[in-house]
Symmetry: C2
Subunit: 697 residues, 2 copies
């Protein structure tokens, strides 16, 4: 181990400190990449190539051999300057990134891949590099076992207050490793309570949530080599994952006495919500432009970004999509009519609306969601006259911070809902599970009353040092405050009257009990408020009654705490001695600490819904949640290399308008379902989290 560097660390070194050139020693051990020739050095270092050997890494014997390869032509991806910002929502940027991904994916061996990664690193735009490398590492057979470091450690600038970096630089330079003090970032750093929308900033700006969104788009890129993009039910998952984000955000809003998000329907009206992200793009040497309240959108025509579209284009695409939905069929590029079926229609629509390269007819249905993001990212400089970059809305790593993200997705989600409203309701017999009956459900939380869940603030540390290019080594922590909850346990009492062993899928959802007026819901509205908490397969024995017990931490939508807050390079258990779980390709997944909404001090009234569905309509051959590589957050992210593990429409049983006669949740229930009132009690206290390091107070 002494002088060798394993593959895991080789990749960490390439991804960390993205503006420190390749020849600067990497990591705590000062590892050096042994490039086979100076051709590997970027142009701008060629004049000092002879000089470098004597300046860097002479004293290290930790060396990474780099194979000599036929160097690829990077001229196309290099057209994006190294100091530019990079947006996945910009077709031109995507094309460059796709070319880079193709190069990375096309290398025959790991050693060739490593060599080309070394060659490209100081040449192409660092953001594009990290994105393309991440996609390649996730999808290359020979790197799949490797762990991607959390993006929040590679590019902390996209996740935490830009104001922290100067203080971190001081810490790093002035203090020895043992004496560095975590830098506390206040919970309220982007706005004050004068701004109503700020009440739910803890959700929008949560590091784990934004990491999830980034990872989701990494697993499900909408443009990349086709074999990467084409994944089982990816269009439908685009709908469902974002629908759940909306439901969760609305839930948080109700907990904070804000109404549900208004759909952004009129693109000609000033946008009321202002947002000042206070994030720097350290690499791009600019900060993310803010959007003052009352900003107006404009047609986009940005020469240097090679993009031009009108608000009217978006309006036309939107209207065509709605018309197609309401007719029930779309037209593909060959002019053929394709039905939007009950089962497959939503998947086709997801690809159309997003739009991914799988869209059935990009010319006709355009690029509503992606270009909407871009439109909303540029009210300040639609024609690039001010040479400004786009705002957080054009970057999946940061878009969820902005209140307008949810207004835009309230609109796109509504497109899907129009479709869902055209589909047949589930008749009772498609919901029921003959012979299986839930007789009681209950939630218990340590130290809380029956059917109470509890939340509080928790502080956790993120190591910024991989983003602090050109500073002394060793961790420098930022201390964030986030929502957290006590783990809780579901207890489900089931009657099996079938006299035989039965299998079923337990589906657990939660919704607010009342709407923003404090009135009980109509089911047709409440169904969109249900957030999925868990889904898992159970086997019911022959005995008549049994009790199913399930821990909140086992949730199939979340990834564990350690995925968000861990230090991959370090071998010491930085999270309080708890064994670190493998951090795998997923990274994708809702953060466990955000499993339930915040609630209120007096206890926010909710309804817990649990059903057990018939396995014969759920089961997918060879795929089930909790089984397979990267299955931790199967509901939101699918399972790697497998089909989506639940054959039902995503969101089942709430994805349809209810059958006739059902106005309330109670009326909706079949015997295999149960509802109980629960309360989420929030305590305004702050506790140290498991990642909090043992450094000086």
């Amino acid at each position: 181990m002494a002088n060798t560097v394993d593959q895991q660390h080789q990749l960490l070194y390439l991804l960390g400190r993205p503006t420190e050139p390749i020849f600067v020693p990497k990591g705590d051990r000062g590892a050096v990449f042994d490039i086979p020739s100076n051709d590997f050095l970027a142009e701008r270092f060629q004049d000092v190539a002879g000089d470098l050997g004597t300046r860097f890494g002479e004293d290290t014997n930790v060396r990474v051999p780099v194979r000599n390869i036929t160097l690829p032509d990077l001229s196309f991806p290099m057209r994006l300057g190294r100091q530019e910002n990079f947006s996945l929502f910009l077709p031109w940027h995507r094309e460059m990134a796709t070319r880079l991904i193709e190069i990375f994916m096309g290398m025959r061996t790991y050693e060739d891949f490593l060599a080309v990664s070394v060659y490209a690193r100081d040449r192409v735009n660092p953001y594009m590099y990290i994105y393309a490398m991440s996609v390649a590492i996730l999808h290359r057979p020979d790197t799949r076992g490797l762990q991607l470091p959390p993006m929040s450690e590679i590019l902390p600038e996209k996740f935490v207050d830009g104001g922290v970096f100067d203080r971190a630089r001081e810490q790093s330079n002035v203090r020895n490793e043992g004496t560095r003090v975590p830098i506390e970032i206040p919970r309220d750093y982007t706005a004050s309570d004068l701004e109503e929308e700020h009440r739910v900033a803890y959700f929008r700006e949560d590091v784990g949530i934004n990491l999830h969104h980034w990872h989701w788009h990494l697993v499900y890129p909408f443009q990349a080599p086709l074999n990467i993009v084409r994944k089982d039910r990816r269009g439908e998952l685009f709908f469902y994952m974002h629908q759940q984000i909306q439901a969760r955000y609305n839930f948080e809003r109700l907990c904070n006495r804000l109404g549900r998000v208004k759909r952004l329907l009129n693109l000609r009206e000033p946008i009321e919500e202002g947002y000042f992200p206070k994030l720097d793009t350290l690499v791009a040497s600019r900060n993310y432009p803010p959007r003052p309240s009352g900003s107006k959108l404009s047609d986009i025509n940005r020469e240097a970004d090679q993009i031009r579209f009108d608000i009217a284009d978006l309006e036309r695409w939107r209207d065509r999509i709605i018309e197609a939905i309401q007719i029930g069929r779309v037209i593909n590029t060959k002019g053929e009519v394709v039905e939007l079926t009950e089962e497959g229609g939503i998947d086709i629509l997801g690809d159309i609306v997003e739009a991914s390269i799988l869209s059935i007819n990009p010319n006709l249905y355009g690029n509503v969601h992606n270009l909407g993001h871009f439109l909303l990212a540029l009210p300040h400089d639609p024609d690039q006259r001010h040479l400004e970059t786009f705002s957080v809305m054009a970057d999946p790593t940061t878009a969820m911070r902005d209140p307008v993200f949810y207004r835009w997705h309230a609109f796109t989600d509504d497109l899907f809902q129009i479709h869902k409203r055209t589909l047949p309701s589930y008749p009772a017999n498609k919901l029921d599970y003959q012979g299986v009956r839930i007789t009681n459900i209950e939630v218990t939380t340590k130290g809380a009353g029956k059917n109470e869940m509890t939340t509080f603030w928790e502080q956790n540390d993120i190591d910024l040092s991989r983003g602090l290019d050109f500073t002394p080594r060793g961790p420098v922590f930022a201390r964030l405050t986030q929502l957290q909850h006590e783990t809780f346990t579901y207890k489900i009492q089931v009657e099996n009257t079938s006299n035989s062993q039965r299998m079923g899928t337990v589906r657990i959802y939660l919704a607010p009990k009342f709407d923003e007026r404090g009135q009980p819901w109509l089911f047709r509205d409440q169904r969109n408020m249900f957030i999925e908490l868990d889904k898992f397969v159970v086997t019911l024995g022959r005995q008549k009654t049994s009790t199913i017990t399930r821990e909140s931490s086992q949730s199939s939508i979340t990834i564990p705490f350690e995925s968000t807050f861990r230090d991959l390079e370090s071998s010491r258990p930085s999270t309080g001695g708890q064994a670190l779980e493998a951090f795998n390709y997923c990274g994708c997944g809702w953060p466990q600490h955000m499993l339930i909404p915040r609630g209120t001090p007096e206890g926010f009234p909710c309804q817990l819904f649990i059903m057990i569905s018939d396995i014969k309509d759920d089961m997918v051959e060879g795929s089930s949640a909790g089984n397979g590589a990267c299955a931790e957050s199967a509901s939101f992210c699918g399972i790697r290399d497998k089909k989506y593990p639940d054959r039902r429409s995503m969101g089942y049983p709430f994805d349809r308008v209810p059958r006739s006669g059902v106005d309330t949740l109670q009326q909706f229930l079949t015997p295999n379902m149960a509802v109980t009132d629960v309360r989420i009690v929030f305590t305004n206290r702050t506790e140290p989290g498991r990642s909090v390091s043992n450094q000086l107070p």
Copy 2:
């Protein structure tokens, strides 16, 4: 010299790299301040105090002894956080700075001053520190001989594209001193030509012009200990210096086919001009907020900034001032009526409008100019709900970059013009100089036709390294492109028919020959377009005719090139072997390279006006331009410790409406005046300037 540090360097060390703590070795020689006790260390370093000695400066024997003093109470100035931005336009910030200035000014000896400077450095806000230190160094008797480094080297972030610093950091870390390459900042980095206003960005964003504005406010603070604020005719100079800026800006605009600036009269209308400064506030860890086009102003109520005023307040103050001007008298705080006389009225008005602490009645006439700056600096966050800092408009170092600066000052200048219009015209006999007659004037420029002046672009380097905290030592240059002109020579043929030796003041002005429609001017408009080029005293011998020759570089409004571009610490002549002139308290002064407007490729038609006025009405006892410490830019900045060296109203002879019957410049002339047509020919070529270092290309 070896182990001692002269006072000049002591101050450089305190002002440079403002976020590197006092105990980090300073300057190229790694000098260390020997603090007499750990009490001198800021609170946040107390826990590692024991550790510091072994980490920093052990190997240096270049030491600055620091005297033990009774430590002052800094709690008031420390109320501004170290990571906040600092604005002179904010009363609360000014009060804190004033307290700090009082502490610095109150130290009895240089050693005590040094000690308190060391003590305060890591405690108070770095921007406030630099400001207060600068005022103190300029005004303390024992530091007056010392040179302030150009602010553009201490805080380069306020003068150059923020995008340069990451590249500079790379240079500094990756390359040895001898191999560092100047980083070129393109001339068009804030906007493109799509933005009409950008055509004159080279003026607004000129480093020398912004340095001048900063220095002017340093020499003429509007709040500070009274003996510093109260300078001869400071109110009038506020009017005149800013009037000349407006004239110069309008001149540049006409050269670029833009009309004169529109006054900002209606504060309720959206502001058309957007501005994206692309400056970082490195110390405050934020960048300067941009102002998108169409921004609206709002009443200001910012709790944390301790400021609250309404647009209606500004409107009332404005209306009261106009009424007072039109009545011809103001009311002081005792309720007494004070006449706005022909001679002293403008000075009273200047203090009222600005407003300085000399304002005759702050309650009644308010704070129009300063709070207007602040209002215009905050359309994006008037109530601080977004926790945003103010824009460039709230900082004298940066305000002149913003197009709205000129719209605001077009309005404030108009207030003074209303007053000037109430004053009697100069009768011909107050203009003429009996016996002195100008028979011919001419301008010659090497390589150009008769009466042609020529301009071009020139590149010059600024050392960024004093602003690159925590990077290796040694200069890292940014290369800027600025307007420059060939030096030219005035030749003035004079007839003296008095048979005796006469003295007079030569006054040289330049104005565009035509207005924005291409039509000849009415004199009443053109008079406000005249920019002062020079003013100097001549003695005319007894001979009847004589020729006065004067070089453009001798201008009494400018400071020499070296004041903007020099490296004080370095002993090598970095400006191409040319001896460096003493850079003195002035710093204040129009940059020589911006003496004349850009002109046009085809030759911009101008009128050169020269008069010789009678010395008996000009002379001020014991003060004359070009004579005394800091007299280089006497017209714009006065002379240190002396009266303003010209007794005439500033702007004479153009500061009044013309006498009856005068509609054109020609009609205005008396025999001691002359006018000739000249052209300014601009060539779109770029040349290396004198500061361009000999580093690698």
